[in-house]
């Protein structure tokens, strides 16, 4: 059952090719993941890597947003927001971790290759890696984090948090240093990192593209985490890593907010996909489980039905929000205030809402399934762990709310 068909969204916003892509991804999920899950569980080498290869290379998703002139498919316009959402929903439904990697990779790429902010030189140099490789090419981001109490004197702060790295000019190059930085994903095997740095003479943060094979880039051993097995993550250190000046993807707060907006849209779609998967699991449970004595089907019990109804209700509203957000990306001019705030506030609001809703929904679904919800075999617990891991990578909700307060109330000191 593909439950994405049950939850309404504006049909006018997608076209046949979007449906076709979604169907392809559904089939990919069934053959590469669903049918092998019981045997391989979360095995990175036996299950996830081959599935990623199929998705990134054979289905060509890693070529998707690169311009045709660079060997890509040419979907490098803001108008593809709905296409992205539909695709990421399907990938997230199959595996949140793979969806998450794809979401981050597409976010990084969109800051380089989207028509309205295209960096021509970078595009020409980087596109071949994505468009000609027969292996998955994974992008990752290193964003600000809490500072430790023993932070180095050179640390620069952005919105209260420490920028992970420091860069300086050296003739035509940039020299970057950063110690034990935690990327959003794939510290062990990402091919490119977008590292947020402070750079002399620049006021705001600067995103610099650092190829994974740069001399001086050291990858730690992978660390263990709650979920997202597809992300083979490890801390990285940059010791005098040299990259060309042209590797600056953007500088300034507005551009960062813009990139984060895409990130939030993509993550919302992946989370949405995981909700479809959870819905399918709980629906099957409701159709087959019996409680309160023989002959009483689970879905016919008023209490469990009411919790299940809440689950459906939450998923439905979340999807409407998601497509509404995508529509804002496509035509920001049709919405008041969007230009000024660069979509950041609506995107942050929607992604926070959807991931928090997803946490609630998954908690409820587990409640309804007793031990089965907790057993690896039923998969629900995997979505629960994965989703929570995604959520914590969005940053603390308490602190993210400060961004919202600044916008809504013009707070000056937060």
């Amino acid at each position: 059952m593909d439950s994405s068909k049950i939850f309404p969204f504006p049909l006018g916003s997608v076209d046949d090719s979007d449906f076709l892509l979604a169907q392809t991804l559904y089939r990919w999920a069934e053959t590469e993941l669903v049918s092998k899950r019981l045997e391989f569980r979360e095995d990175y080498v036996k299950l996830l890597l081959p599935a990623m290869k199929k998705l990134f290379v054979d289905v060509e998703l890693q070529k998707m947003t690169w311009p045709e002139s660079c060997g890509g498919i040419g979907l490098n316009r803001r108008e593809i927001a709905h296409t992205l959402v539909m695709a990421l929903e399907q990938v997230g439904r199959a595996d949140c971790g793979i969806g998450y990697l794809l979401a981050v990779t597409l976010t990084l790429c969109s800051s380089i290759n989207f028509e309205y902010n295209r960096k021509e030189d970078l595009c020409q140099r980087i596109a071949p890696f994505f468009c000609q490789s027969d292996q998955p090419v994974i992008g990752s981001l290193v964003l600000p984090s809490y500072a430790m109490d023993n932070y180095p004197a050179v640390t620069t702060f952005f919105r209260g948090k420490a920028l992970p790295a420091v860069a300086r000019y050296d003739n035509d190059n940039l020299v970057i240093n950063g110690q034990e930085m935690r990327p959003l994903n794939s510290g062990r095997d990402a091919s490119f990192f977008g590292v947020l740095c402070s750079l002399e003479a620049e006021d705001g943060p600067v995103l610099i593209l650092v190829p994974g094979d740069s001399p001086g880039l050291i990858r730690d051993e992978p660390f263990l985490k709650t979920g997202l097995a597809a992300s083979n993550n490890a801390d990285i250190t940059l010791n005098d890593v040299i990259v060309p000046r042209e590797n600056i993807i953007f500088s300034g707060e507005d551009c960062l907010s813009h990139m984060l907006s895409w990130f939030y849209l993509n993550i919302s779609a992946v989370s949405m996909g995981s909700l479809f998967a959870v819905f399918e699991i709980i629906r099957e449970w409701g159709d087959t489980r019996v409680i309160k004595g023989k002959g009483n089907l689970f879905k016919e019990n008023p209490l469990t039905a009411s919790v299940m109804a809440e689950i459906g209700h939450d998923i439905m509203l979340s999807r409407l929000l998601l497509y509404q957000l995508a529509a804002m990306f496509i035509s920001p001019d049709s919405y008041s205030h969007i230009e000024r705030e660069n979509l950041y506030v609506p995107a942050l609001s929607v992604v926070s809402h959807i991931t928090q809703t997803a946490e609630k929904v998954m908690n409820q679904a587990m409640e309804l399934m007793g031990s089965a919800g907790y057993a690896t075999e039923w998969n629900l617990e995997r979505y629960w762990r994965d989703l929570k891991t995604i959520q914590v990578h969005l940053g603390s909700w308490e602190l993210n709310k400060m961004d919202l307060a600044r916008y809504f109330y013009n707070s000056q000191k937060l």
Binding site: R41, S145, Y146, A147, M148, D149, Y151, F157, G160, K161, A162, R182, L184, F223, L224, K225, T226, G227, R289, V290, I291, K292, G293, K294, L303, T304, V307, E359, N363, M366, E367, L368, M369, G370, S371, G373, Y374, A375, T376, E377, E381, W384, R385, K388, T389, Q391, V392, H393, G395, S396, W397, E398, L399, K401, M402
Partner: protein, 422 residues
Amino acid sequence: MPSIDDFTRPKEYISPIDDYFGKIVRQWADKEVIPYRQRYDEDWQEHRLIEPAFDKLMGELGLQRVLFPEDLGGWGLGHSHYTASASFRLMEEVARADSGIAVAFGVTFWPLIMICNEPHLNRRLCEEFAPLFCNTNKAVFAANAMTEPQGGADIENMEIIKGSTIETTAVLDGDDWIINGHKLWPTNSGGVCSLFGVVCTTRPGSKDLNDFAFIFVPADRPGVTQGNSYQKAGMAADKNSDVWFDHVRVPKYYRACGPGDDYKYFKEVISFGNLGSIAFVCGAMMNVFEILQNFCNSNLYRGLPVKEHDAVAAVLADLVKDIEIIRIIGYQYARMLDRPELYGPRWSDEIVAKGRAYKYFACDRAVEDLGRVMNLMESGGSDRARDLEKHWRDIKIVQLWMGGKQLCQMETARWFFDCKTL
């Protein structure tokens, strides 16, 4: 700075051995568990790392003996006025280090409650089984086998279902019971169990309470098979599996209390299950508090420790407020179990219902709080090296087991509103 010992304990009625137990277990936890627990998840099948901690706690320190009468090698906790209060402290301390260990340890007493507790102490069965637990320095596990493939909640929903869905049968054949059935999930199965307490029926489909039977089955009896451990989201220290009883023969006197009384006192088992659940949650939250104190002091936001941010501080307050309340509720419930002359029998519908209410309150608060704390710690929240996420994964099951939240709600409403059909 305040520590976990500054959370309130009802000093006027804690057990005289509360501090003694607490200290011993705290030392054991800090030395034998906390340094190793990050690797427990990978040890879920073998228990190579986990087993020594069990041996120390249950065998060497001797805590697996506490319920049995003193003259049989036990510590006599089963006839004390502090059975529940002392158990609460014990379980809380163990769960601070690892709630999976706490469950495995606590469940070892679960079936034994049927025979070790006054006023229904079964001397003959105590004599039979005490040596198993008291004459060894190795951990010995018991299990309470209730849940069956068709559903665990219905078996616990005793007031309404009255055991009519139980499919595991006990048939008398001369002086023996013949047990047949298939159980799922008992804590301490997966090959580690030495003694099962088996919930079964002497007449399938019957709602006659005399047909509800609780019968002890040593795990080495022919016909008992424990399956492989299930892989699950957390609680690696607790092994769970299928268990099959195939024409297993045990003596007639292995039935715990007899017709009618098995049903009655099994409700006491449920009460203790609720108490244990609150203690597991409370202990895990204590450690979350410790982890968070550390995190909030060493991580900075706008140049100050994170805890100095007003909005963050509100989350910290919510957590400690809940720990305070959960602990007070837990001790109060323990007191209610310890003083039946004031609060009524431990097996009464009232005590069971109130236990259900406290349990689901504690679990709901813990699940929500830990989710928020993980979020506050950002990527550190999902980093296994921080131990926080382990508690988050572990305590979720406390909310789900013993019939799940909805059964708790129904039993609570049923008692307070005198509902007849829930």
